[in-house]
Amino acid sequence: MMSWTRYIVGTVTFVVPATATFLNTVGYVAEVRGISMKPCLNPFLGKYSVSDYVHLNKWGVRSYKFERGEIVSLLSPVNPGEKLIKRVVALEGDGVWTRNMKKVVTVPQGHIWVEGDHRKSLDSNSFGPVPVALVNGRATHIVWPPSRWQRLSVCPLSKERVISPFAI
């Protein structure tokens, strides 16, 4: 009887922290809610209640180096505890036109400009550039539903929105 208790306690104290550590450092699969990344993610959300599940790679964001056009998941700067999934539009040092083309914002050091693909998206256009440290994963693949199984492509915005100091 005692050995069984010991066995169960020993297994739980290993399996629970190991799983949590794995999910925290390597990656996990998360459901995408909302229409902010339409039509790239959740394209049918208005018609059917089927949401996409994406694989979030956490190991790859340790270096905090991003490309323009990648899809990342980040903690919301406005509602702590909420997670957002957005596309990286501009990196630090870039100038970026806001969505309504009213003004140019220069992205400060250590920040990125994130936007959803859909025009009704709560993103940097409302809360400004976000610190890179808020990013906690990179969305690499859609893993569910099987019909939408694909790798997520990196597609930067058109050149006229983003003014990069390193562009030729």
């Binding site: 104290t13 290993f14 629970v16 922290p17 190991a18 949590a20 550590t21 925290n24 450092t25 905090y64 903690l75 919301s76 700067p77 406005v78 509602n79 702590p80 505890g81 400060p108 050091q109 250590g110 920040h111 809360f127 976000v130 610190p131 890179v132 440290a133 808020l134």
Partner: protein
């Protein structure tokens, strides 16, 4: 009954398994319960000194039990590899006076300031910080070193510099026309960040052996780490002289 012989591979395997297990438990502890850290820099003086060990309470952050006046460890909004240790001055919705006007803290943000207001790089320069960047609430401090020990300024934090360079300095005060002789000790260390961050702290050392900080200059993103150490020191030394001159 004699114990069964255990092969070397099994013993190594068990040792590795134990290590992995404790690594995972440690990760979960620091991520969900609490953590500890070592302070560097002068921005939280006189509350915290370089070399102090602080204990952080992570649960207070996840349960949103943060109040004004508490010290937090927070990821720097300018450098994701760097943690800054500051005091919460205002929470969301409140107003703070900064640079001549009142700033309203936006939703989900906090305003952080160091206790050593003259030598602190905080919300007054980089603005309000998202609450999601706050890592732990600092609730306990362990002092291993006498804060008045003279060599505390010469410590290096992450292996970029391990020695302090001192430069003799003669500043002539034009108002009183009496030359002021003192040695500037370049106690230089980088902040805890790893990416192109270099902050040099200068300490005027007068005859009484007082080592109060005279100037603090941060070099960032100018490729400073690729230049020679001496060249950087000379450049920043000139800047510090200007700073000292402007301070009177």
């Amino acid at each position: 009954m004699a114990a069964a012989p255990v092969s070397l591979m099994t013993r190594i395997g068990r040792r590795v398994f134990t290590l992995v297990k404790f690594g995972c438990i440690l990760h979960c502890m620091t991520e969900y319960v609490g953590t500890f850290a070592v302070c560097h820099g002068i921005s939280m003086q006189p509350t915290l000194h370089s070399g102090d060990i602080i204990l952080g309470d992570r649960l207070a952050i996840t349960r949103r039990k943060l109040e004004n006046g508490e010290i937090v460890l927070c990821k720097s909004p300018e450098d994701p590899f760097m943690y800054v240790c500051k005091r919460v001055v205002a929470m969301e919705g409140e107003r703070v006076f900064n640079k001549g006007w009142y700033t309203k803290i936006p939703k989900g943000h906090v305003w952080l300031e160091g206790d050593n207001r003259d030598f602190s790089h905080d919300s007054r320069s980089f603005g309000p910080v998202p609450y999601a960047l706050v890592y732990t609430k600092v609730f306990y401090r362990i002092i291993f070193k006498d804060p008045n020990a003279p060599d505390m300024w010469d410590r290096a934090s992450n292996g970029i510099f391990y020695s302090a360079i001192s430069l003799e300095c003669y500043i002539t005060d034009t108002a009183t026309s009496t030359p002021d002789h003192f040695t500037l000790h370049l106690g230089c260390w980088s902040c805890v960040g790893r990416r192109n961050t270099l902050s040099l702290i200068f300490h005027a050392c007068d005859d009484f052996g007082d080592r109060t900080p005279a100037a603090c200059v941060e070099g960032r993103n100018h490729g400073v780490l690729n230049k020679g150490v001496l060249q950087v020191c000379q450049e920043i030394y000139c800047n510090a002289l200007q700073l000292l001159g402007s301070a009177g």
